[in-house]
C-alpha cells in the first residue's frame, strides 16, 4: 500500500533537519537513531561553524520542534534491519534495543553516584569513564537515562533493580513501518587514528584527535572545558595541529575531509582564549578555508602566537623521558627539516562515512570510500556527510534538499 510517510535513518543534524522539514509540511516522519540520544556528532562539539555556537544552541531548537510536532516519531537505540518494496511503498523493519528506562525523565544522578562500575566513555572519545546508567550530555535528548546492562556488576544490578524508573526486564522489540521514501543521514565517524602508524597510532600520550580536543574544550566535557594534557592535567604551552591526518592520502582517506582546516583554526582559538601565553603551530599541506571561512582564517592567523607552517607532519613520537611529544616536519617554504617538542599535539583526523566498512540493508550504491552515490530513482536520498564531507551548515542544506526530494517522491500517494 502506498505511503506518504518518510523514513530518516540517522538522528544527527542532517537527519533532524530533513525530518523536520518534511514533518512541518505535514508528512509523517520516522527517525531511526542507532545511539541512545539524538544530535549526532554536533552534540560532541564545543562550538560549531558558522557562528561558533555551542551545540545546545541549534540542537535545542530542533528538539523543541520535534517535541511540538506530532508528525515526527523517533526511535533511539534502533536500527533498520530490512527494507522491502519499492519507491512509494517501502516496508521497513526496525529493531529497537531496550533502554531499560521508562518514559518519564527523573534525575537519577544519585543512583549513578552509587554505582561502582565504570566504563570507558565513547561519547568523550575515551577521555573519561562513565557509569553504566548515564546520559551523554546534560541537554541530551531524549532526557532519559539509558542503562548499559552488559556493563552492570552484580551489586550494581541490585541497585538498578530497586529503582522504580528502570526496568532490566525490558526486551528487544521489532517494529514495521510503511514509508514512501527514505532519507539516509548516517553521517560520519572520525578516521581511526590507530591506522596512522607514523603519527603515533593513538599510542602517544599527549597526541589527541581533533574530536577529543572538542571534548576537552567543552564545558560539559571531561575537564569541564579546561584544555589540559590528558597525561598529567597540565596546561599546554606549546600546541601543534597536524593537518590531513589521514585525509588526502591514498593510504587512508583519498579525499579532503573539508572541515579539518577550519576545525584546527577554531581549536587554535580555543587554546589562545584560555592561555594568553600559549603558542600554537598548525602544520598543513594547504590551508583550505572555503568561501567566507577565509575571513575567519585571516582573523585567527593574525594572532602572533598562532603559526601556520606549510609541511605535513610525518612523524609523531613520545618523548623518551617525559610526556612531551616530538613532531618531525619539513617547512616546505624555508626547506628546513626539524624535530620540535610540544606539550600537546592534535591530529586533525578526517571524516569517514559511517557506512565505510558497514552496510545498510538497503540497496543503494556506495563508492569505494563508503559515500552514497545514488539511489534517487528508488526514492532513497542521502543527506549530510553520508554523501560527502560537509560542515554543519552545508549538511543542513543538503538535508533540506533531500527532504524536498523525499516530499516530491511521496506527494499524492
Amino acid at each position: 500500500m502506498a505511503s506518504n510517510s518518510i523514513l530518516v535513518i540517522g538522528g544527527g543534524f542532517a537527519g533532524l533537519t530533513a525530518a523536520l522539514e518534511a514533518a512541518e509540511i505535514g508528512h509523517e516522519v520516522f527517525i531511526i537513531e542507532k545511539t541512545p540520544f539524538l544530535g549526532g556528532r554536533v552534540m560532541q562539539l564545543n562550538k560549531y561553524f558558522p557562528k561558533l555556537c555551542p551545540p545546545s544552541c541549534g540542537l535545542e531548537i530542533q528538539y523543541q520542534r520535534i517535541k511540538n510536532n506530532p508528525n515526527v516519531k523517533f526511535f533511539t537505540l534502533a536500527e533498520v534491519t530490512k527494507v522491502e518494496g519499492s519507491v512509494g511503498n517501502y516496508e521497513v523493519t526496525v529493531r529497537i534495543k531496550p533502554r531499560y528506562a521508562g518514559p518519564s525523565s527523573p534525575d537519577l544522578s544519585d543512583l549513578c553516584a552509587e554505582l561502582s562500575t565504570e566504563v570507558v566513555n565513547d561519547f568523550e572519545f575515551g577521555l573519561s569513564n562513565r557509569k553504566p546508567v548515564y546520559m551523554d550530555a546534560p541537554f541530551a535528548f531524549p532526557q532519559r537515562y539509558v542503562v548499559d546492562k552488559a556493563s552492570l556488576s552484580e551489586a550494581d544490578k541490585g541497585k538498578v533493580q530497586k529503582c522504580d524508573y528502570l526496568d532490566l526486564t525490558e526486551e528487544e522489540k521489532t517494529i514495521t513501518l510503511s514509508v514512501g521514501s527514505i532519507v539516509i543521514a548516517t553521517g560520519w565517524k572520525p578516521y581511526d587514528v590507530t591506522n596512522l602508524s607514523n603519527l603515533g597510532a593513538g599510542a602517544v600520550k599527549n597526541c589527541i584527535s581533533n574530536m577529543q580536543m572538542e571534548r576537552l574544550a567543552s564545558p560539559y566535557g571531561p575537564t569541564s572545558g579546561a584544555i589540559l594534557r590528558p597525561s598529567d592535567g597540565r596546561a599546554p604551552k606549546k600546541v601543534a595541529f597536524v593537518q590531513c591526518a589521514g585525509s588526502r592520502d591514498e593510504n587512508h582517506l583519498h579525499y579532503c575531509s573539508y572541515i579539518c582546516c577550519m576545525a584546527s583554526l577554531k581549536q587554535a582559538q580555543y587554546v589562545r582564549e584560555q592561555y594568553p601565553d600559549a603558542e600554537v603551530t598548525i602544520y598543513y599541506i594547504d590551508l583550505r578555508t572555503p568561501g567566507r571561512y577565509d575571513n575567519f582564517a585571516k582573523k585567527i592567523l593574525a594572532d602572533e602566537k598562532i603559526f601556520a607552517v606549510k609541511g605535513k607532519v610525518a612523524a609523531v613520537e613520545q618523548d623518551k623521558a617525559g610526556d612531551d611529544v616530538w613532531v618531525t616536519v619539513e617547512d616546505a617554504v624555508s626547506c628546513a627539516k626539524s624535530v620540535e617538542r610540544f606539550d600537546l599535539v592534535v591530529l586533525a583526523t578526517g571524516m569517514q562515512p559511517s557506512l565505510a566498512g558497514a552496510s545498510l540493508p538497503i540497496d543503494v550504491p556506495v563508492d569505494a570510500e563508503g559515500f552514497i552515490v545514488g539511489g534517487e530513482e528508488k526514492g532513497i536520498f542521502a543527506a549530510g556527510c553520508a554523501k560527502q564531507p560537509l560542515d554543519v551548515m552545508k549538511s543542513a542544506q543538503s538535508a533540506t534538499g533531500a527532504a524536498m526530494k523525499a516530499i516530491q517522491t511521496v506527494r499524492g500517494r
Partner: protein, 408 residues
C-alpha cells in the same frame, strides 16, 4: 623570497626522467611527508621533496648536480608513506640512472646502457672480441678446444693472459678509471656549486682524509648508513643481500689481484710466480677464497633478486638498470662456477664455451661500469665522502635536541 629565480623548465628532461623510473613524479603535491620519513635526510634542504618539485618543473641543472640522490639508499619508506603514490624513492633512483647515462662521455655508451634494445651491441662487442681471439688461437694451436698433454683443460692455453686477456682488460681498466676520474671531477664541481655547507655547533668538520676513512670504514665496509634504511624484513634482506654480494666481490677482487701480482710480479721476482699460476688446485688458499666468493655472490644475488621479484609495485618499481646489473652479475657468477665445474669434469667444448661467456659477461660488467648501476660504487662513495666532509649528515646524527643547526 629574497632573490628572484628564473625558472627554465626543461620539458624533455621531465619526459626522460619519467622514462627511466620517475613515471609517477607528477602526482606529487608537495606535502613533505617524504623528507620527514627519510631516515637519512639532513635538516637543511632535506630530500626528496625538493627533488620532486624540481623534477616537475624540469629544473635539470639543479638535479644533475644534486648530491642528495646519492645519499638516498632507496629503502622506499618515502614512497610507502607518500599520500599520492608519487614514489619519490623511484624518482631518486631515476635521477641516479640519469647520472649513469649522462655524467661521463662517450655519451653513446650511456645511451646503449639505458634501454634493453641496445643490449645486442653491448653483448656483441665482447662476443666479437673474444670470438676473434678464440678463432686466432684455435688456428694457432690447431683446436677449438685444446687440451694439455695430460688431457687437462687449461683456459690459459686458449685465452693466454699475457697477450690477450690481461692487456685487453688492462686497457679496459684504464679506460674505466679515466672515465670515473672525469665523472668524479664533474660530480665534485657540481657539488661545490650547489651543496649548502652546514655549520653545526658541536660538530667538528673532518679533514678530507678522515672523511674518506670514515666513509670507507662505516658506509662502505660496514654498510652502516644502509642499515639505517631498514624498517621491514624485506629491507633487512636487501641490506644483507647487498653486503653479502659486496663481500663476494671483495673476495673475487682479492683473488684476481693475487693472481695478477703473482703472475706479472713473478716475471720480475721469480719467487712470486707460483702464486699466480692457474689453474690452482682446489685446496689452494686463493682457490678456496675464490670459491667462498662464488658462494657469497650466489647468496647475495638470490636475496636481492628474490626481494625485487616480491617487491610491492606500489612502493617501488624495478627498472632496466636494476635488472641489467643483477642479470650481468648472475651470468658472471654462474659462468664462473660453471667454468670451474666443467673444467674439472673434463667436458672440453662446454667448459670452453662457458669460459667464453664468463669473459663476455665480465667485459659487460667492467667495461660499461661508469654507465651502469654498479657505477654507484664510485659515485655514491664520492658523494658520501663529500657529504661527510661538508657536514651534510642525517638529522639524527646531529645535535637536534639543542636546535643548533645553521645553514650558511
Amino acid at each position: 623570497m629574497s632573490k628572484t629565480i628564473k625558472i627554465e623548465p626543461n620539458l624533455q628532461f621531465v619526459k626522460e626522467l619519467q622514462e627511466v623510473g620517475g613515471a609517477d613524479l607528477k602526482k606529487c603535491y608537495q606535502c613533505a611527508t617524504c623528507s620527514v620519513a627519510c631516515p637519512m635526510s639532513p635538516a637543511d634542504s632535506p630530500y626528496p621533496r625538493k627533488e620532486m618539485v624540481w623534477a616537475q618543473w624540469g629544473l635539470k641543472d639543479k638535479l644533475v648536480n644534486d648530491i642528495d640522490i646519492w645519499l638516498c639508499h632507496n629503502c622506499g619508506t618515502c614512497s610507502e608513506l607518500c599520500p599520492r603514490g608519487a614514489k619519490p624513492g623511484d624518482l631518486l633512483g631515476a635521477l641516479r640512472n640519469m647520472t649513469y647515462r649522462t655524467l661521463v662521455k662517450p655519451a653513446i655508451v650511456g645511451k646503449w646502457m639505458s634501454s634493453p634494445k641496445h643490449l645486442p651491441i653491448l653483448a656483441g662487442i665482447p662476443m666479437a672480441i673474444f670470438a676473434f681471439i678464440w678463432m686466432i688461437r684455435a688456428a694457432l694451436v690447431g683446436s677449438f678446444f685444446p687440451l694439455t698433454e695430460d688431457g687437462k683443460i687449461v683456459y690459459g692455453n686458449l685465452f693466454p693472459g699475457d697477450f690477450t686477456i690481461d692487456p685487453l682488460f688492462g686497457l679496459v681498466a684504464i679506460f674505466v678509471a679515466i672515465c670515473f676520474g672525469l665523472g668524479i671531477k664533474n660530480m665534485i664541481d657540481g657539488f661545490k656549486a650547489n651543496v649548502p655547507e652546514t655549520f653545526v655547533i658541536g660538530y667538528k668538520r673532518p679533514t678530507l682524509k678522515d672523511a674518506i676513512i670514515a666513509t670507507i670504514k662505516y658506509d662502505v665496509l660496514q654498510h652502516s648508513r644502509f642499515k639505517n634504511c631498514v624498517d621491514s624484513p624485506a629491507d633487512e634482506e636487501r641490506v644483507k643481500g647487498h653486503q653479502i654480494l659486496f663481500y663476494g666481490f671483495v673476495a673475487c677482487a682479492i683473488v684476481t689481484t693475487v693472481v695478477a701480482v703473482g703472475h706479472w710480479g713473478g716475471k720480475v721476482i721469480p719467487l712470486l710466480a707460483p702464486i699466480g699460476h692457474t689453474p690452482m688446485p682446489l685446496w689452494h688458499p686463493v682457490k678456496i677464497l675464490a670459491n667462498i666468493g662464488a658462494v657469497l655472490l650466489v647468496t647475495g644475488l638470490t636475496l636481492l633478486t628474490r626481494r625485487r621479484l616480491n617487491s610491492d609495485t606500489k612502493k617501488s618499481v624495478s627498472n632496466y638498470y636494476d635488472w641489467y646489473l643483477l642479470g650481468v652479475i648472475w651470468v658472471v657468477t654462474l659462468t664462473g662456477i660453471g667454468a670451474q665445474i666443467f673444467r674439472l669434469a673434463g667436458t672440453a667444448p662446454l667448459a670452453f664455451f662457458t669460459y667464453y661467456l664468463h669473459l663476455v659477461s665480465i667485459f659487460m660488467l667492467i667495461a660499461y661500469l661508469p654507465w651502469s648501476k654498479l657505477g654507484h660504487l664510485v659515485y655514491r662513495t664520492t658523494a658520501l665522502i663529500y657529504a661527510r666532509y661538508v657536514g651534510r649528515l642525517p638529522i639524527d646524527e646531529k645535535l637536534i635536541e639543542d636546535d643548533k643547526i645553521f645553514v650558511i
